[in-house]
């Protein structure tokens, strides 16, 4: 188990009812964090156009997470 801080944005923040949580997760990759928090919050957004950052750097879903990491979950963006 790892202690991870997970930050939610936009619709993910609304699904989670919080902008940030500190969770104990059995997660190896960013994808694991996405899937475990999604089921936890009853969100159904597919991972397709979502993005992830680890400790303020954009990352791939296959990137591994380590104890203490801050994982940022971004729903599909729509700037401009």
């Amino acid at each position: 188990m790892k202690t991870l801080t997970v930050k939610y944005f936009a619709m993910f923040r609304e699904h989670a009812g919080a902008s940030e949580e500190t969770l104990e997760l059995d997660a190896a990759t960013a994808r694991d964090v996405f899937e475990q928090t999604r089921s936890r919050h009853g969100s159904s957004e597919p991972i397709g156009h979502c993005k992830v950052a680890i400790n303020d750097e954009m990352a791939d879903w296959t990137a591994s997470v380590k104890d203490g990491d801050v994982v940022l979950l971004f729903p599909p963006v729509a700037g401009g």
Binding site: F9, A10, V77, G79
Partner: protein, 141 residues
């Protein structure tokens, strides 16, 4: 230059930033809040921005554009917060010796910004409802 601003975008200041005696012109794109989207009447709009990464990614987009379409100056500002109909949400300006580079770099920057930066748009409709706007390329997945 790339910035996120929670204040009104002042076009004249930005235009001055891309002025250059070697430039034959500037291509500017301004994104405005329009009164409807996908058939629904919009009252106002809210931009949520994760600024630390939006700024890093915005600068990266401008650097990429410069490599592909060499230009002299470029500047881009994106709004955060609450906007009304007609407000300027994003301003992109690119000056270059010749217009072809200016047009292409400006288009590249706005296209990439819309799909890559951690910026989310929530529309508030006149019927009281509201919703997060999906990104442009998501519909095609």
């Amino acid at each position: 230059m790339f910035a996120i601003s929670d204040k009104d975008i002042v076009v004249d200041e930005l235009r001055d930033q891309v002025k250059n005696a070697g430039s034959g012109g500037v291509c500017v794109f301004e994104g405005w809040v329009r009164n409807q989207n996908e058939g629904r009447t919009v009252q106002r709009l809210e931009y949520e921005v994760y600024a630390p990464l939006a700024i890093v990614e915005g600068k990266k987009v401008i650097a990429e554009a410069k490599q592909r379409f060499p230009f002299l100056e470029a500047s881009c500002v994106h709004r955060s917060g609450l906007l009304e109909i007609g407000d300027c949400a994003v301003w992109v300006g690119v000056s270059a010796p010749h217009r072809d580079e200016a047009f292409k770099a400006c288009r590249y920057i706005i296209d990439e910004i819309k799909v890559r930066l951690p910026i989310w748009k929530k529309e508030h409709y006149v019927d009281g409802d509201s919703g997060w706007v999906n990104c442009e390329r998501c519909a095609n997945v």
